[in-house]
Symmetry: C2
Subunit: 235 residues, 2 copies
């Protein structure tokens, strides 16, 4: 199978980067000096909790496509008052919203992707926007061949067009591409389109022991890390 | 000025890669073994000659956007008979068309861009499609932050939307971006939109001594190579 695959497409939030710890750290770093003390992990969870519903507004056609930074900002404004925070200056709001550009990769990711790139074309197929993906790649020393995903497709996963636009951008048939994610819903959306699927377990994504359950639908590869995926794909 | 600039956008054909020598070499490599001998440089010139007019069909709205590989194929079919070549098998036509994915960079490019990337975000803003840009980057060891340009914008340079889409993808104002090209028309299109401009002279693009004349409109930087550009921008 690995020899037929030409490109690997990666989910990013949760699969490659530890958004929860990073958002909590960034939030504390911004709010504590202003005398604001909150449960930063609960705040990260609440902010992330608005992620799916906000994209659904776009997927359903009720809102035109806008980049994820815009949805994150909208969601931030909804979540802050729940933590008793109001009236932050605009520059602080901008800085806080860009916390999503400062997420750290899981420890296996930089080396694993560098190995995988020797054998495959690699691209993020994330719901994050291009500038966000660029910032995360620079921060975590990832060399993508291209930034694909929601902003290039003009819609959000798991809409089929996002996966198919990525295959088309690389001039590849879906069967020559593998979607890699820690989230079964992502793989379950890609598989019927003909893409291969790779599951990387991230059991601590939403806190210790709080990751997605393994897929209940068949996947082509199940890995414990990006380096394990490289091992299994012969990269 | 250099400290205000956050991103450099590069024209590719001619500015970074020597399309003429490369297309001639690839054409010879494919046709000679089939007993077909032509003036491969004249063939490269003729094929490239169809480039502008074919994009104009899209820019004018007479044709919907399609990627450059498709236009190259269309143009190839127009040009081959002029050299007395007909009836090539489909696999040879595909291989020949993908000659544009196998272009060599000018000797200063790989090192120059590596230096520039330490200080700036860098992306191609080319009329070439994403897969073509990926192939050239891999061949010439270029680490782009993202692939921007025509396919992401859905139109061809010098339409303003292509430059502005690149700025928007990076969340930057035009004044924070520099368009770099060997072609004055490209810089003349970017400058009125607010982008900074960098000219790299490629006096041999269309053969010895046959490059574009230097710009007659003001540019911010005039360089002799990507490494010279890095010197001048302090990278």
């Amino acid at each position: 199978m690995a020899d037929d695959i030409k490109a690997l497409f990666f989910d990013v939030f949760g699969t490659l980067v530890d958004w929860r710890s990073s958002i909590a750290r960034e939030t504390d770093a911004i709010l504590k000096p202003r005398g604001i003390a909150i449960d930063a992990h609960a705040f990260a969870d609440a902010w992330r909790g608005e992620y799916g519903p906000s994209m659904e507004e776009v997927r359903s056609g009720r809102l035109p496509f806008c980049k994820l930074d815009v949805l994150h900002r909208h969601n931030l404004e909804r979540v802050l008052p729940r933590f008793g925070i109001t009236g932050l200056p605009e520059d602080v709001m901008v800085q806080l919203n860009l916390a999503w550009h400062r997420l750290d990769a899981w420890p296996d990711v930089t080396r694993g992707l560098a190995r995988l790139r020797r054998k495959f074309q690699i691209a993020p197929v994330s719901n994050g926007n291009i500038s966000l993906m660029v910032a995360l790649a620079r921060r975590n020393d990832i060399h993508w061949d291209a930034i694909l995903g929601a902003e290039v497709a003009g819609d959000y996963k798991p809409k089929p067009g996002v996966y198919l636009a990525a295959c088309a951008a690389f001039d590849l048939a879906p069967a020559q591409c593998m979607m890699v994610a820690a989230h079964p819903f992502d793989l379950a959306a890609a598989a019927p389109l003909g893409l291969r699927t790779g599951y990387i377990a991230r059991p601590n994504e939403r806190g210790p022991g709080k990751g997605d359950n393994p897929p209940t639908t068949p996947v082509d590869v199940t890995a414990t890390s990006a380096e394990d995926l490289a091992d299994q794909l012969g990269a």
